[in-house]
């Protein structure tokens, strides 16, 4: 038995360290550490409630719109305000743009470059993959960066800039759209569709979204072997990526993209092969293994506090351990598409659970499903109708904002007293996925997903760890904030 420390992991947003215990060439146990603490919850205390719209997006440069949407929605609940249709559509468009740009960045810049590594030099596919996906020098980067930047022009129009916009407000968007801009937005989304259909999929988005079974996917992969999704599926098959990184197979989605009633992608939990109602009041944050001061047992974020305790015995991460009904939950695009009942994802999870391959497939599927919806949202914008309503912030109020960032469920819980923020607590997607152990000693999602992974006798053959870690598209700066 030996111990080994891995880190820093790059191509994750922020800093990450993983310690593992190795027995017979396989990981026996893992401990995940988020090594950076900043203290946003303390910074927010005592500020004007609307200042959360400035501070919280700056928790994270890659999820900044998601943070803004969560903050605006917590404030909206506290203010008992409604958004006009245009406000809701604009918020959804900006959020979808960020989430899909993140999916693209993750696939091309963060995840795929690991298959270009020399460790795979003996594999017949490696040379072609390296030529296309190698970090910095692979051919795809020069195609993806311009496509990503052009897609983000949508945020240039609707949010002024990305990241760190202040356009998303409790009552809608500060950026009314003029008729000619609606046309321009349509073109931006259309141009992104063209990029996806030529480069990522080599097929119509609707055909990808319509894949409804593992057989249909296999068949598609054979016919589209020269698309980037096809290339991934080949590598995933060759390396059996469906057999590594298995999580707890309990999933959580707060529901994505608000509609007049409900969400475009459903809000729910999924465990033991079926959906279950999500009760946000059953969330608790456990800090047994966190360098965070204890509050006599796990707390709901509404009553939570986040005060550092750097010398706490038994602690090994700045991250807290959120649990739902005491259970470890995985969140992300896979959870979202599973809970939304997408037939392909349903079948893949039934077959092999939450794993590296399925997480990546769900992310790319979301690109195919959401871009056509964005086209509809743009056309549904009504220039000259209201985009933003406003109301005073009450002196005493509470609100929660539950949204889906690219990498999963994000929650903000806000309490206002005497017109100021009394308490503000945040649980980010990677806080769920990369949590440390709880009071019961139950490891977090990644800690479970690493167990059993073959890494060689001394842990030197560790490229598979890279795949497992990155399959979650982690955002460490959100995780601990």
């Amino acid at each position: 038995m030996s111990r080994r420390l891995y880190g820093p992991f790059n191509r994750v947003e922020g800093d990450l360290e993983v310690q593992v215990e190795i027995e017979d060439g396989r990981i026996k146990a893992a401990w995940v550490n988020s090594p950076l603490f900043r203290g946003f919850e303390q910074i927010l205390h005592g500020r004007n409630p609307r200042d959360a719209l400035v501070y919280t997006p700056r928790i994270c440069g890659i999820c900044s719109v998601s943070q803004a949407v969560a903050a605006a929605s917590a404030l909206r609940e506290a203010m008992e305000l409604e958004m006009p249709d245009n406000g809701r559509l604009t918020t959804n468009l900006v959020l979808a743009c960020e989430n899909l740009a993140d999916h693209l960045t993750h696939f091309y810049l963060f995840f795929m470059p690991d298959f270009a590594r020399e460790a795979y030099a003996d594999h017949p596919w490696q040379a072609a993959i390296a030529e296309r996906f190698r970090a910095q020098t692979g051919r795809c980067a020069r195609e993806v960066l311009p496509a990503r930047a052009a897609f983000l022009h949508l945020t240039g129009i609707l949010a002024g800039k990305w990241p760190h916009s202040l356009s998303i407000q409790p009552g809608g968007s500060t950026r009314p759209v003029e008729p000619q801009e609606r046309i321009r937005l349509r073109q931006i989304v259309g141009q992104f569709r063209q990029f996806l259909e030529t480069t990522l999929f080599g097929d119509a988005l609707e055909s990808v979204a319509a894949l409804d079974s593992p057989d249909a996917l296999d068949d598609w992969a054979e016919r589209h072997a020269d698309s980037d999704f096809g290339r991934f599926l080949q590598v995933a098959g060759a390396l059996d990526l469906a057999t590594i990184g298995r999580g707890p197979d309990r999933f959580l989605s707060f529901g994505a993209y608000a509609r007049a009633d409900g969400h475009l992608f459903a809000r729910s939990t999924w465990a033991d092969g079926k959906r279950g109602a999500l009760d946000p009041s059953a969330i608790r944050e456990d800090v047994s293994c966190s360098w965070i001061r204890s509050q006599n047992g796990p707390r709901h974020p509404r009553e939570g506090a986040t005060l550092p305790a750097a010398d706490k015995p038994g602690a090994y991460s700045w991250c807290k351990a959120p649990r739902l009904n005491g259970q470890v939950m995985e969140t992300g695009a896979l959870a979202r598409q599973l809970i939304d009942d997408h037939p392909l994802i349903r079948a893949l999870v039934a077959q092999s659970g939450g794993n590296v391959r399925n997480r990546v497939i769900a992310r790319l599927l979301e690109l195919a499903r959401l871009v056509p919806v964005m086209e509809d949202w743009v056309l549904a914008l009504r220039p000259r109708q209201p985009f933003c309503l406003d109301a005073p912030v009450p002196d005493e109020a509470e609100g929660a904002g539950l949204v889906e960032a690219a990498r999963g469920s994000l929650g903000h819980w806000l309490r206002i007293r005497n017109g100021r923020i009394l308490n503000y607590q945040i649980i980010a997607p990677t806080t769920w996925n990369f949590s440390p152990r709880d009071a019961e000693g139950t490891p977090g999602v990644l800690e479970q997903a690493l167990v059993g992974l073959a890494v060689g006798p001394d842990g030197h053959d560790a490229v598979a760890i890279q795949h497992v870690v990155r399959s979650f598209d982690p955002c460490m700066v959100c995780t601990v904030h």
């Binding site: 360290e17 609307r50 700056r58 994270c60 440069g61 890659i62 930047a149 800039k161 406003d390």
Partner: protein, 335 residues
């Protein structure tokens, strides 16, 4: 060893948003721009293949002088807490506070560049009571000092170059790197806070799409209104040093074009205003922060004159989301 300039990019107490903004670069894109400036990226946390021990090995080679380091970029604040120990951020895999790595690497680099207001001054991470004890590389808020001290100079003879902003515009960084590569960046190219004058010789007010509302003091009153946001909505564009309304963000945007106030994010201590960000503090009905270089008496006199002269069109449009009254001037009369 190649002649290309080598660049190492590290992140600490920040959000990674400056790197994300850097990826928004267009014509040329990020990799194109680095290639044109002949800069070799030794390592960047979001972009490089090398991970874990390969990266720690690179730091070791730089430390031992086996790898030349021309440009060290830090994104995010320097984390000094808790109690000055630096343990709020230990570089993963090394057990060592990244603050200590930074002090060592800065001493080996030809140029040191702070990317964003966090690395320059402490920024958002230093907001409020600054729970993380965050500071900038050479400033703590507006006070010289920070991690490296007021008199510190890099081997190339310059202090830390502070590309402040929250986030940075990709152009601010890529212009600066290109000038370093050409050997054209000297002390005269930096302002009083060591920010590149490339962008801080301008005010955010320059090119503001709401200029006509400003001229006539026709003010917005709530989010979404089209009027000038200086009087009520907290806009600091007339004082903020940056070219945001000249140099387009994401194809054509800016904070003002997005319909919200400039919060002066390129300035030290912007993160803790003594008023709500989206409200203008006033004394006797007059905004406390006046436009840069403007004598107060003149501002008050001009403002009251302008208010008296505000055309009905601007008065109405300023408090509406859409143009309710289009301009009439210049229309040719029918014969």
């Amino acid at each position: 060893m190649s002649d290309r300039l080598t660049l190492l990019w590290l992140q600490s107490g920040g959000c990674g948003g400056c790197s994300m903004s850097l990826l928004d670069a267009e014509h040329p894109d990020l990799y194109g721009a680095l290639e044109l400036s002949d800069i070799e990226l030794l390592w960047h946390p979001s972009l490089s293949e090398a991970s874990a021990e390969e990266f720690l090995d690179l730091l070791g080679r730089i430390s031992r002088g086996e790898q030349r380091l021309d440009i060290l970029c830090l994104e995010g604040s320097v984390m000094q807490g808790p109690d000055g120990t630096g343990r709020f951020h230990r570089l993963a895999g090394s057990g060592r506070p990244i603050r200590d790595w930074l002090r060592e690497l800065a001493g080996l680099a030809r140029h040191v560049v702070a990317i964003g207001s966090c690395a320059a001054f402490g920024g958002i991470t230093a907001a409020g009571d600054n729970p993380g004890e965050a500071c900038g590389l050479q400033y703590t808020g507006e006070h010289p000092g920070g991690l490296l001290g007021e008199d510190w100079q890099a081997a190339g003879g310059l202090p830390v170059i502070n590309i402040a902003g929250c986030p940075i515009h990709s152009g601010w960084v890529l212009d600066c790197l290109a000038q370093l590569a050409l050997g054209e960046l000297d002390e005269d190219a930096l302002d009083e806070y060591h920010r590149p004058r490339n962008y801080t010789d301008h005010l955010v007010h320059h090119g503001c799409p709401r200029n006509e509302y400003y001229e006539f003091k026709a003010s917005a009153e709530k989010p979404g209104d089209q009027g000038c946001m200086m009087e009520h909505m907290g806009c600091l564009g007339t004082q903020a040093r940056a070219d945001c309304n000249i140099r387009p963000w994401n194809g054509g945007g800016s904070c003002l074009k997005g319909g919200y106030a400039c919060i002066n994010c390129t300035a030290p201590t912007f993160e803790t205003p003594n008023h709500p960000f989206q409200e203008t503090p006033k004394l006797g009905g007059i905004p406390i922060g006046l436009p840069s270089d403007m004598p107060k008496a003149w501002f008050v006199a001009l403002a009251s004159l302008a208010k008296a002269a505000t055309p009905e069109r601007l008065r109405r449009n300023a408090v509406a989301e859409h143009i309710e009254v289009p301009p009439t001037g210049g229309r040719r009369r029918r014969p």
